[in-house]
């Protein structure tokens, strides 16, 4: 017997389809639900528990009523449905009765169209950002306009204020252009100072002069009238929109070679992350008044939005720093070797990749932040949760729990689940390996 070593294949095998057990239903069931005895037992147990829960939920929902004016009213209607004395049912009357309030708070009813319009226009404003490849490029102009349009629609006032604030960006641009002969740092300082001066002193004058000539505007609505989902959305949208760019700048600052900028960013991030959001909100609602000159009126919602934005941007900065750290050094080197300067390299090469890596983290922060808007009820703002206290204190609806909180929870889930689905879509779209 000799050991055979040499071997030459005579015919080359063609491709064969894989064993197709997984294609058929039985195969799929066996593979996924009844793989072994323990997995079969756990499958059956899960089905039983789930079925029991769903049956209870179905019973509760099937005896629901929209009609009732109060909780007692509701109970008697459900009793009349005659399902026995212990049988409970859902009292959706509270949503019918208080749904408007849960949506708009105490916003004047003749102005409901304004928040509705503002948040409807949010969709076309977001489209060119979220679905850049499927929308005409020009629409980005509307997205740029939206940050000025939304506050005007919600808070009202003359149209000249948002226009004046917009003009500030032109002031910034031109003051930067006109100082071209100066040192870069001096240029930034001068143009920033001029722009801030315009916003603080120029805009009020601009507003009063033009309002005298052409009084165009909407009836002003005070911040304390804001409430409900409208308030959550306002704070959430602003904080989400502002915390991403701020977080990017903080993350870059933390990696900067300029020691002072780095120290500032690290200090800010560590401080804000070390403080609970509720503390920051209390600072916004009470402490800030002590530090501001007496008589200054600084809108409470504005203060809250700033605090929530700062809070989220500190977390954002750390998530993005993680993305930056995950990029191979070669990407920076290739950008340098091609002659791209720092900002161009960041914009074209580094950030698109770092942000892509950070998508799950960024969206987690967005979702957490949107839910955190309910914390404003602690400082007396009437977001949906703040309103439940008022509704449940009213004798008509005292004692209602499931329907009210369930409805609010559902609304939050709709928003946060959409964000989560979008992030998955984006991750799939940006996946370019193979």
């Amino acid at each position: 017997m000799t050991k055979q070593v040499a071997y030459v294949r005579k015919e080359i095998l063609g491709p064969k389809p894989p064993p197709n057990a997984q294609d058929r239903l039985i195969g799929w069931l066996r593979e996924n639900l009844f793989y072994s005895i323990p997995s079969s037992i756990s499958t059956l147990l899960t089905v039983v528990v789930l079925g029991w829960l769903l049956l209870g939920l179905f019973n509760w929902l099937s005896v629901s009523t929209w009609a009732a004016e109060s909780l007692n009213d509701c109970r008697s209607i459900i009793a009349e449905l005659n399902r026995g004395p212990d049988e409970s049912g859902a009292c959706w009357g509270v949503i019918r009765d208080r749904g408007i309030q849960l949506t708009f708070g105490f916003y004047p009813s003749e102005g409901y169209w304004r928040p509705i319009l503002a948040f409807t226009l949010l969709l076309p404003a977001l489209a060119p950002i979220l679905f850049a490849d499927k929308t005409p490029r020009r629409m980005i102009l509307f997205s740029a306009l939206y940050p000025f349009l939304m506050p005007w629609l919600l808070w009202g006032g003359t149209i000249w204020v948002p226009l004046g604030v917009m003009a500030g960006f032109a002031v910034l641009y031109y003051s930067f252009r006109f100082t071209a002969s100066l040192n870069n740092l001096v240029r930034y300082a001068i143009s920033l100072a001029v722009t801030l001066a315009w916003w603080m002193f120029g805009v009020p004058v601009f507003d009063s002069v033009l309002s005298a000539l052409a009084p165009i505007g909407l009836a002003p609505v005070e911040s304390r009238m804001f409430g409900g989902f409208m308030l959550s959305l306002t704070i959430g949208v602003v904080a989400i929109g502002a915390s991403l760019p701020l977080g990017i700048l903080l993350a870059l600052g933390r990696q900067s070679d300029l020691i002072l900028i780095k120290a500032l960013c690290v200090g800010f991030i560590e401080f804000i992350r070390g403080v609970p959001l509720i503390t920051l909100l209390f600072v916004a609602s009470t402490l800030l008044n002590i530090f501001l000159p007496p008589g200054t009126e600084f809108d409470i919602i504005m203060r809250v939005m700033i605090m929530v934005t700062l809070f989220a941007s500190a977390y954002m900065a750390e998530v993005i720093r993680g993305g930056l750290a995950a990029l191979p050094r070669g990407q920076y080197e290739a950008a340098d070797a091609l002659g791209l300067d720092y900002w161009k390299a960041q914009r074209m090469i580094i950030m698109p990749q770092a942000l892509k890596i950070s998508i799950p983290g960024i969206v987690s922060i967005f979702i957490a932040m949107f839910k955190d808007t309910t914390l404003v009820s602690v400082i007396g703002l009437l977001d949906p949760l703040g309103l439940t206290t008022a509704i449940r204190a009213n004798q008509e609806w005292a004692g209602i729990v499931w329907e009210l909180y369930g409805f609010i929870a559902l609304m939050f889930v709709v928003v946060t689940y959409s964000m989560s689905r979008y992030s998955m879509y984006l991750e799939r779209k940006l996946y370019h390996e193979h």
Binding site: P328, G330, Q331, E333, A334, D336, A337, L338, G339, L340, D341, K344, M348, I349, P352, Q353, K356, L430, H432, E433, H434
Partner: protein, 263 residues
């Protein structure tokens, strides 16, 4: 590495070394912290030269060519590229970088951009070339590196050899006067090395000034007009390839050659 040295057919008719200095390095030193990585480097490269730099790993050869476009900073001595001295003046650095193309061991293509976008990025954003012109140029260079059909793909969908050829095309799109190659074939499978080397040879045949850190001795013999051997951060020996390979002077060079040529 006891592989046979392959010889390449090279058309030398267009290769001409002029007496204009492309790169002039004088008394250059570099430290990484306290580690003296480059010591007293003196090197003048004339336009049209093809220089191969070799040496054991850690000898500072990559660091040397990375100093030429200031991916690394030198601390002593001077580096003048095309009459521009490299200093902390960022304007000079940008000028040098736009005239010097670089090809990396690991390609360093931008994975989030298509091949075409990789090629047009720098011409558009650094040179302000209009987009359609940049694309035309890019397709021309893709043709040159023989992968015009891959323009719309992403780098992750290409083979290593194709990626490296895209990287070469990307550098060429800036129409550089000098090309630096930092071990361009070291990360490639053997059957892909050849396609990249052929692209490099073609470039040399057109008269490009090239500095290559490589262990491809066949390439050095066929293409280079000068081979530099480095060890411990210093230039130990330099000579014409024939002399270098058949009549090495320094003991270190002899040892190195005997190891990589496997005699």
């Amino acid at each position: 590495m006891s592989q046979e040295v392959e010889d390449y057919e090279v058309d030398k008719s267009q290769m001409r070394v002029s007496d204009k200095k492309a790169i002039d390095i004088k008394g250059m030193h570099k430290w990484y912290g306290t580690f003296h990585v480059l010591r007293d480097i003196n090197l003048t490269v004339y336009e049209g030269e093809r220089i191969v730099i070799c040496g054991p790993s850690g000898s500072g050869k990559s660091t040397l060519i990375r100093c030429i476009n200031r991916l690394e900073e030198h601390q002593e001595g001077s580096i003048v590229v095309d009459n521009t001295e490299l200093s902390s003046d960022l304007k000079n650095v940008d000028k040098v970088r736009s005239e010097v193309g670089m090809v990396f061991q690991h390609f360093n293509l931008f994975p989030h951009l298509t091949v075409l976008e990789n090629l047009t990025l720098a011409p558009i954003w650094v040179r302000n070339t209009p987009q359609h012109e940049a694309e035309e140029l890019a397709r021309q260079y893709l043709q040159k590196v023989k992968i015009p059909e891959q323009a719309e793909k992403y780098p992750g969908q290409l083979s290593g050899g194709q990626q490296q050829r895209v990287a070469i095309a990307r550098a060429l799109c800036m129409q550089p006067r000098i090309m630096l190659f930092d071990e361009p074939t070291s990360a490639l499978d053997p059957e892909m090395i050849k396609e990249v080397l052929e692209t490099m040879i073609e470039l040399a045949e057109e008269g490009m000034t090239m500095l290559c850190v490589t262990h491809e001795m066949g390439f050095a013999r066929g293409v280079a007009n000068r081979v530099i051997f480095m060890d411990e951060g210093q230039i130990i020996e330099q000579n014409e390839p024939d002399e270098f390979f058949h009549n090495p002077q320094s003991d270190r060079t002899k040892l190195f050659l005997s190891q990589i040529l496997g005699h």
